[in-house]
């Protein structure tokens, strides 16, 4: 996956973003506790109808509030990696999250990386 490839993390909780600050909160990007990966899709903001179609599938029965759009280079800037993980089609995962024998210190390192992605991500809300 090239540095310039667009990625999207779909937002299914209203608390994952701030409309006042117009940004996505860092916790949105933290890894799943079971496999230590963060699920994303390989898609940008355009075409928007396709973006939301993928998002609806990802959201399932949950409400789709919006999307965090960023690029693979933003993930790598946080010393993480993003790799394809199909199926489903266009699915990928952010890997390489910090590991530490101390779970709280591990979490602190992961938050630092999540802050970098959050700082680079664009918030796009469902109209």
């Amino acid at each position: 996956m090239s540095d310039g490839e667009d990625l999207v993390r779909f937002l299914t909780q209203s608390s994952q973003f701030s409309t006042t600050l117009v940004l996505v909160k860092p916790a949105t990007f933290l890894p799943n506790p079971r496999d230590q990966n963060t699920s994303v899709s390989r898609h940008g903001r355009e075409p928007e109808d396709k973006l939301w179609a993928i998002g609806q599938v990802a959201a399932g029965s949950r409400t789709l509030h919006g999307a965090a759009i960023f690029k693979a280079v933003n993930v790598r800037a946080a010393k993480l990696e993003v790799v394809p993980d199909e199926p489903p089609q266009r699915h990928a995962v952010i890997t390489g999250w910090a590991r530490d024998a101390d779970p709280v210190l591990q979490k602190a390192k992961q938050i630092e990386a999540a802050l970098l992605i959050a700082g680079a991500a664009e918030l796009l809300l469902v109209k």
């Binding site: 909780q13 608390s15 916790a27 506790p33 496999d35 959201a59 709280v104 999540a114 700082g119």
Partner: protein, 131 residues
């Protein structure tokens, strides 16, 4: 932070915990936010001193709660509260960044955490950064 602001923040925390009370709230494998985590987050908000604005709150996939003070997308402080008294935190300040762990006694915000919150909010001149 005024008493009324704290009560509003605590109301947001309870709403968030209610939304994430069941495992898998993220459609994946997120852990539920349990009552111990919520209580710790409420205690921390109650212990915030006057002058610190209410944080943004968000659920974390491991069942913790994130409290965030965000000045801009390049200036953020994020604090993670779990079920024990140890707090994970990290900050982003332009090109500077860092992380740490602190203990919360349930009554007073750890000095290091308070210093970083002030720094993020632009009150840094009055406090020595301890990192």
């Amino acid at each position: 932070m005024l008493f009324a602001e704290k009560e509003i923040a605590i109301s947001h925390l309870r709403h968030l915990a209610n939304d994430c009370a069941e495992p898998g709230w993220d459609g994946n494998a997120a852990f539920a936010i349990d009552s111990d985590v919520l209580q710790n987050a409420e205690d921390l908000v109650r212990s915030l001193p006057y002058g610190i604005p209410a944080p943004e709150c968000a659920p974390e996939p491991d069942g913790s709660i994130s409290l965030d003070w965000i000045q801009s997308r390049k200036r953020m402080f994020s604090l993670s509260i779990g079920s024990n008294n140890r707090l994970a935190y990290a900050w982003l300040d332009g090109t500077d960044k860092g992380h740490g762990v602190a203990c919360f006694d349930g009554l007073s915000i750890p000095a290091r955490v308070l210093s970083e919150i002030h720094h993020t909010l632009g009150h840094g001149n009055a406090f020595l950064r301890i990192a």
